[in-house]
Each structure stands twice: as structure tokens, then as C-alpha cells.
């Protein structure tokens, strides 16, 4: 019995090609679009998160308890080098770096701006977050009192490669002290705060300028994939402020949540359009065959079996659409993952939000599983209306209509 139902469903799905092709294309194109949008949204969010992790916080950062409230040099981690050395032995930590930051004023002969001198070890930073990839202009070098400037700060100060700037701040002893540095490179991290204020200088030079020992730092940043390390470090260093990147950048969490909402809304809209589209085509297609169903009922086929047949037909069409959509979506995502989506014409807006102008899409298996459920559900729902019509159908009406 069931093989005749399968046969009817299969033949109806694939012998009535124009209807089937229309539905399959509708599903496949919508699905490919949906997957691409989802991939791009996730790509944008992850790109922002990735740059923040690489340029600043890592997955976990350690500070003096009061540092984030009052960025005074006295709120430093005194034994930062020891902690760093100790943490380097932890297998769960992939990279670790320490930084010494101090707020102050950068000035040229004509312009001045609030800025933040950050003492870094360039080699460490390259290993930690591929810092060299942030270089927009010039060299990644601190040679001859060189400094790397955030791109927005460079614009504000109207300086270029080779320009000299003076940075003034209060040193460790409380005196106002100044250091002259020469711009060797301009970096763009897409971290808005850093790009607008950061003056990267060699760590040793900053330590010397501020009159602090080489043990001292204001931040220790860690790259890790461990889910438990944060708790471990919080327990181990109760005197320090141990935070993960979402605590440090709550906006990123909001952004991440917002993207989930955006994706869900887009997903719902696309699926609703798909549902309405398939319902329209399936409704017309099934009602076109109402006589056929009437005859089958007259011959003794039960409504339940007709329902199985129609659901199976919708499932087959939906599944074929899904497979084609998955291939199309995968190809589009593969392209966008490797070559990116170039949005350079919106570069100003994108950069002000801390985003790259080329967005590289993400691709997750969950995209394909969620669309699978959605498309199969939409396909099955699409035949409910015609099924109600068939349930009410009296075979004699069909037989009479043709005699």
C-alpha cells in the first residue's frame, strides 16, 4: 500500500516539472539568500569581536582592582612579569601579553588631543593578536623612539609617517613628564576607542619614561579557548580584576545579541515569504488535481492515504529545494568566506562602527540544520489549506462535474 503512495507522491512531484521547478527554485534562492545574510551578519559580529580580542582584551584580561574605574598609574599590577611567567606554564593559555598604559596629552606644533600611551612588546603583540595586520600605513617598528598611532588620532593630530609628537602625562612619582616620539606607522584596529587615542610605544621605553620597574603593567591579556580559565583565574587572583571580553566590552555582547535578533527576524521574514510562495503554488497545483483526488476517493483511497501522499509530495519538493539551496548557499558562503563582501563604498560608516570594509562571512553547520527544519516545516505547512479542501471533498461532486 505505502509503495503506491510513495510512487504517487514521487511521480506527482517530478512528473509535474514546471510546478516543482518553481517551488524548488523559490526555496533554493530564498535559502541561499538567508544563509548568506546569516553568514554576513555573523561575519560582521565576529569580525568586531575578533579585532577587539586581538587588539586589546584577549578572551580574558587582568587589571588592578581599581584600574578600570580610575586609570591612574598607581593602580597597576606590581608583579605583572611574575604572573605572566607563571601563566605561561598553563597549557590552557595560548598567548599572553602585558601592557602598560597611561592617559595623557599628545601634541604637535599645531594640534593636541587626549591620548593613551600603551607600552607594548611588539613581538608579543604580533604573536598575541597578529598586531602587524592592523598596520594601515608606514612600518611596524619602534626604531629610534618610534611610535604607532591609532588612525583616528593621526587624523585628529593631522600627523603622518615621520611626524613628531610630544606626549605628556603624570609619571609614577606624580611629576608631569613628556616624551617625544616619531610616528613610524599608523594602525587601524577597528576598535573605536583605541583608534581614537592609542599611541603604541615600546614597553621598555614607556617603563623608563614613567619611571616604573619592568615588573609593572596595567593589563595582562590572555588568549585562550578554555571555558573554565576565567573562574580559575578569578579564584587564583582575588586581588585583581579578572574579566572576560564580554564584561569588558558589553557593547559587543549587545551587538551579538542584536545580530541574533536581526538574524531571527530576517529568518522569519524569509521563511514567511517562502511559506506564502510555496503555499500559493502548492494550493493551485493540488486544486488543479482535485478531480484526481476525488476519483481516488471514489475508488476507495482513504483521506488519510491522500494526506500521506500530499505531505510526502511536499516533503520531497521541500527536500529537493533544500538540497539545491544548501549547495547554492554553501557556494555563496564559501565565496564570501574566502573573498569577502566588499563594502568599501560605505567605508566611513563601517569604520565608525568598528567594522572592516570587507566582510568575510561565517559558515556554521547550524545554518544548514535550522534552515532544514524551517524549510521542511514550511513545505509541510504549505499543503494544509488544500488538504482541508480535499477533506471536505465529496467524490460525487467530481464525478458529476465531468458527466
Amino acid at each position: 500500500m505505502f509503495n503506491i503512495i510513495i510512487k504517487l507522491a514521487w511521480n506527482n512531484a517530478f512528473l509535474r516539472l514546471s510546478r516543482t521547478i518553481l517551488v524548488i527554485l523559490m526555496i533554493a534562492i530564498s535559502m541561499a539568500m538567508m544563509l548568506s545574510i546569516q553568514g554576513i551578519y555573523d561575519g560582521m559580529t565576529l569580525n568586531m569581536i575578533d579585532k577587539t580580542l586581538r587588539s586589546d582584551s584577549g578572551e580574558i584580561s587582568l587589571y588592578h582592582k581599581n584600574y578600570r574605574l580610575d586609570k591612574n598609574l598607581k593602580h597597576n599590577i606590581k608583579d605583572a612579569s611574575q604572573i605572566q611567567t607563571f601563566l605561561q606554564t598553563n597549557n590552557e593559555i595560548e598567548y599572553i601579553t602585558k601592557r602598560l598604559s597611561v592617559e595623557g596629552l599628545s601634541a604637535t606644533a599645531r594640534k593636541s588631543a587626549f591620548s593613551n600611551v600603551i607600552g607594548i612588546n611588539l613581538e608579543n603583540e604580533i604573536a598575541f593578536g597578529q598586531f602587524n595586520q592592523f598596520l594601515k600605513k608606514g612600518d611596524m617598528s619602534f626604531r629610534k623612539r618610534g611610535a604607532l598611532l591609532g588612525s583616528e588620532l593621526a587624523k585628529t593630530l593631522k600627523v603622518n609617517i615621520g611626524s613628531k609628537i610630544i606626549f605628556s602625562t603624570q609619571d609614577h612619582s606624580g611629576d608631569i613628564n613628556s616624551i617625544a616620539v616619531r610616528v613610524r606607522g599608523i594602525v587601524q584596529t577597528s576598535n573605536i576607542a583605541l583608534d581614537a587615542s592609542a599611541v603604541y610605544v615600546d614597553l621598555k621605553q614607556v617603563q623608563k619614561f614613567l619611571g616604573v620597574n619592568n615588573q609593572m603593567a596595567t593589563q595582562i591579556a590572555i588568549r585562550t579557548h578554555s571555558q573554565t580559565l576565567l573562574k580559575e583565574l578569578k579564584n587564583k587572583y582575588p586581588e585583581l580584576d579578572v574579566k572576560n571580553f564580554l564584561e569588558l566590552y558589553p557593547m559587543l555582547k549587545q551587538m551579538k545579541d542584536m545580530m541574533v535578533i536581526f538574524t531571527s527576524i530576517t529568518f522569519l521574514i524569509v521563511m514567511l515569504v517562502v511559506l506564502i510562495g510555496i503555499t500559493g503554488v502548492m494550493y493551485v497545483s493540488i486544486l488543479d488535481r482535485i478531480r484526481e483526488f476525488g476519483i481516488m476517493r471514489a475508488l476507495g483511497m482513504s483521506y488519510q492515504n491522500i494526506r500521506y501522499q500530499i505531505f510526502l509530495e511536499a516533503f520531497l519538493v521541500g527536500l529537493t529545494g533544500y538540497i539545491l539551496g544548501a549547495i547554492l548557499g554553501f557556494s555563496t558562503l564559501y565565496y564570501l568566506q574566502n573573498y569577502g563582501l566588499n563594502l568599501s563604498q560605505y567605508s566611513e560608516g563601517m569604520e565608525s562602527f568598528g567594522m572592516d570594509t570587507i566582510i568575510y562571512a561565517q559558515m556554521n553547520i547550524s545554518y544548514f540544520t535550522s534552515t532544514f527544519y524551517a524549510i521542511i516545516t514550511a513545505s509541510l505547512l504549505s499543503v494544509l489549506l488544500p488538504l482541508i479542501k480535499i477533506k471536505k471533498l465529496n467524490p460525487i461532486d467530481v464525478i458529476k462535474a465531468e458527466t
Binding site: M1, N3, I4, K7, L8, N11, N12, L15, R16, R291, E292, I295, M296, R297, A298, L299, G300, M301, S302, Y303, N305, N394, P395, I396, I399, E402, T403
Partner: protein, 223 residues
């Protein structure tokens, strides 16, 4: 076997164009009978046949099949009854367009759960008898009207139902195929005791049946 008591059927009831399609029909068809409903066009042959076949409901009266009242059955029960006891040949061929001829002929047998090998054997048997065995793999749309009618007949008889109800089964057949069809019906009737009720005004059919029930204006004028 089939008993109709005071059957009345109206179309467009309560409207100015009301038609009294079946007028107080009382009829008994015994098991193994080969009968014909005969009369002019519009006399109620098809309506009566549809009522006997549980496809249509009378407005009043009762229909018994094997002493069971069928007029009170629900749609699912009627569907089961038609599947298990009846074979239909409609005026239009009503084949399933996406199934090939072999699958169309074996359709009811499949629904009834016959074994595939039995279906294959029986399909070939009736298809050979009706000379459509060379078309078993074709789709209905590729067949002529006469060939499609033979497939419809083959489908009705293949499952060996207890009753065959046929509405103008020879209407699209030439005289040679009409003879083959009637011969096959006679064989089914005589050898297997299948009850057959035809609705037709084909002279050849009138000559072939054992009982002619004449109708006029919805009433039986000659039982």
C-alpha cells in the same frame, strides 16, 4: 444482495429548477445478477448507480448491501466499502495520470494490499484479455480514448470485486472491444459470481445482460 427501499433523490431542492432525480425507487438486485439500468438520457440511471455505489446519498429511503444499511455510513466507512466490495467504471476514464497503465490497473489491488506478484499476474491477465498488454508501461495521456476506457475497465475488474458498477462502459469502445468487455463481464459473472450493474443504452449491452431495469423520469417502469 442490494436492496433499495423508497429511494428519493432531488437536485436543486427547494429551488424553482428542482429535479426529482429518483422517484420512490424500490429495487432488489440479487447476488450474481447481471443487470442493466436502461432508459433515456436524464432518466436517473447514473444517479441510481451512484447511490448503489455509496458515492451519493439519497434524500430519503434506505439502501442495504448484504443486509447492511449503507446510507448511514460515514465517509470513511463508505470509502472502505467501495474499496473492498465494489469496482467502478465511470463514463470518463478517470485514470491516474502520473501512474502508468500497469500501475493504474493494479491501483485498487495495491490499496487492498494484494501481494505484488499476484498484482503483476492479474494485471497481465486482464490487460491481455483487453488487448492493452503492450501498453503497460505507457502513461494514460499517450493512449487513445478507447484504450483508456479499457484500462478503466481492467482496473475495475482486476481486484475481483463483489459488485461491478459501470456507467456507459462501452461508450468509447468499438464493437470489437465492446464484445471483449461484455464477454469478460459474463465470465466474471458466471464463473466468479460477481454482481454486475451497468447503466447503458448500448443495444449490444442490452442483448448481453440477463435483466434490464427500465427507468423513466427517475422512476422504475420495468423492474
Amino acid at each position: 444482495m442490494i436492496r433499495l427501499i423508497n429511494i428519493n433523490k432531488y437536485f436543486y431542492r427547494g429551488e424553482s429548477r428542482e429535479v426529482h432525480a429518483l422517484n420512490d425507487i424500490n429495487l432488489e438486485i440479487k447476488e450474481g445478477e447481471f443487470s442493466l439500468l436502461n432508459g433515456p438520457s436524464g432518466c436517473g440511471k447514473t444517479t441510481l448507480l451512484n447511490n448503489i455505489g455509496a458515492l451519493d446519498n439519497p434524500d430519503s429511503g434506505e439502501i442495504f448491501l448484504d443486509e447492511s444499511l449503507i446510507t448511514t455510513l460515514n465517509e470513511d466507512e463508505k470509502t472502505q466499502l467501495r474499496l473492498n466490495k465494489m469496482g467502478f467504471v465511470f463514463q470518463a476514464y478517470n485514470l491516474v495520470p502520473v501512474l502508468n497503465i500497469e500501475e493504474n490497473i493494479g491501483f485498487i489491488m495495491k490499496l487492498r494490499g494484494f501481494d505484488d506478484s499476484i498484482i503483476k499476474e492479474r494485471v497481465l491477465e486482464v490487460a491481455t484479455l483487453l488487448e492493452i498488454d503492450n501498453k503497460l508501461n505507457a502513461l494514460p495521456s499517450t493512449l487513445s480514448g478507447g484504450q483508456q476506457q479499457r484500462v478503466a475497465v481492467a482496473r475495475a475488474v482486476a481486484a475481483k470485486p463483489k459488485i461491478i458498477l459501470a456507467d456507459e462502459p462501452t461508450a468509447n469502445l468499438d464493437s470489437k472491444n465492446s464484445k471483449i468487455l461484455m464477454q469478460m463481464m459474463r465470465t466474471l459473472n458466471e464463473k466468479e459470481g460477481v454482481t454486475i450493474v451497468f447503466a447503458s443504452h448500448d443495444e449490444y449491452v442490452i442483448e448481453s445482460v440477463r435483466r434490464v431495469i427500465k427507468l423513466n423520469d427517475g422512476a422504475i417502469i420495468e423492474p
